[in-house]
Symmetry: C2
Subunit: 348 residues, 2 copies
Amino acid sequence: MENERAIFEMGKQSIKLPMPVYIRASASVVGKKEKEGPLGHLFDIASTDDQFGQKNWEDSESELQKQAVNKVLEKAEMKWEQIRYLFAGDLLGQGIATAFGLKDLGIPLFGLYGACSTCGEALSLGAMAIGGGFAGNVVCVTSSHFASAEKEFRFPLEYGGQRPPSSTWTVTGSGAFVLSAHPGKAPRAIITGITTGKIEDYGIHDSMNMGCAMAPAAMKAIEANLKDFGRTPSDYDRIITGDLGSVGKEALIALLKEKGINIEAVHMDCGIEMYDLQKQGVGAGGSGCGCSASILSAVLLDKLERGEWKRILFLPTGALLSKTSYNEGKNVMGIAHGVVIESLGITR
Amino acid sequence: MENERAIFEMGKQSIKLPMPVYIRASASVVGKKEKEGPLGHLFDIASTDDQFGQKNWEDSESELQKQAVNKVLEKAEMKWEQIRYLFAGDLLGQGIATAFGLKDLGIPLFGLYGACSTCGEALSLGAMAIGGGFAGNVVCVTSSHFASAEKEFRFPLEYGGQRPPSSTWTVTGSGAFVLSAHPGKAPRAIITGITTGKIEDYGIHDSMNMGCAMAPAAMKAIEANLKDFGRTPSDYDRIITGDLGSVGKEALIALLKEKGINIEAVHMDCGIEMYDLQKQGVGAGGSGCGCSASILSAVLLDKLERGEWKRILFLPTGALLSKTSYNEGKNVMGIAHGVVIESLGITR
């Protein structure tokens, strides 16, 4: 029996998907500040305020997820009955933005937590569910909200805390994706592989410099991905990290150079792209698990769909900490989950 | 291409695993009160205090997970290099017991949150990873700790808050499992199917009565499982919920009777089994995602391994809330993830 079994393991920590996993549709929802940024015109939905008509910030974030999943289903021209599983998460304790945002859908739910890397985790597990034949269609969705995250991790907005330049600004946003075994009318792209991250603890202790806390995990995941798939950085049109920001980007490039890997020509970071770093007062850039998710939907998949890019490594990065762990003097650790996404032009 | 694809969907929310997923080994670690309970002598490791040699309760819970995963690997006679993925979670905000407990293992990690149902979620996703050919071996682990949970959800112990009889006592415990495509020398049992839960919101508002908040989710998952697999309750030697406790058990039995399903003869609840409800002052029973996990390892798998039981539906139940959601006046919702586990006697 053991010999009959197909194994899709690639190298030490990657897998190659045995059958096509189409990103059949995607949707993005963002808040006011994101709308005002350089990519603002590309998102499907942008709120005029950040409350999304709700009474508290947690409900606002739930509403973000709700709008994102409804929009993605509309764009996929599908009904909820066709969706087998939800893979979803957010940054709040006990994933409450997700739980209250998705509760009325009546779809089996796998709740996830990978900090700001959760979009990569959700796409990885969703792709495995499709690739393994366990589902025909799944929805992956993640969100973050500036105000609910400040309250959860740092101080309520009313406190007016100051922020150092290395800190990042949690993106108010959500991205949702229909993954499917079937291409549908106009699939956006195809997931061909995943590289699952390990926790990396480089002794970083400054929760206001999460870019540096996550850079080692990004470095390790990129190194593993290239080795496992036998690729060089130039085999990707872009290697796109989630939310390292300008400080973390510098650290990542330097760490990889020590390993003899130069990704400068192809590196891009969603946190840097989201805002005008000079004018919008966001420190080192955007962060949160809605940052990479909304940009994947609004920007990256467009380039793949149009064939401008052939293949990317999408690598959301997460900083592992809580208010409690930080107050107890623990380090801020990192994790990064890589997803190889290809244009249908070259795989069809 | 679409026609070539095997689909393992069973009915509306279940799947049948296409290839054997062995529970190759399991391990359990508990605290002092659990050791003093009626099952105390069955756990692999029991601490003489609940601090596990650590300085704070979060670190104690991390140590619980660490001991559980090290023990399960020892029992499986495997090395960490043989483990492809970790599927892991706990009850704390941002899953910090898991992150700090497993950080040194160097294994790709999928962080999960399903409240007290997380053991079912972890086994489901782990089984899909094995069953889909994405991994040869994975470890699933969940934990909870009475003191870290009280601090996270209710009040720090020093506050001395009173507890109503319907409240449950968070189990200090962890269960870890090696799932494998290969039986090894002495596999404990085999996972043959999963039924993934949806969020059920029955308007329950009392966070001190989580049994009733979770009972509707357990009812729906049991109903779906029986329908999807074309079974009756007597096709299972036991249908085992995670932590409904004595109050939630009554609600579950009644709710299922309304649907024409009677599980009284085969129902068992891990939360009720863990303690002596008359003598140990635990209210309606035990709870937490270490409750069902440690009992699955120490009690349920023993019965399956010995062939005393042929098939069980293991159904950890979770209450979806956070301190913040509760304080903002939100309901306590439920979710339950079912795993069909069979004795190797009938499947070999």
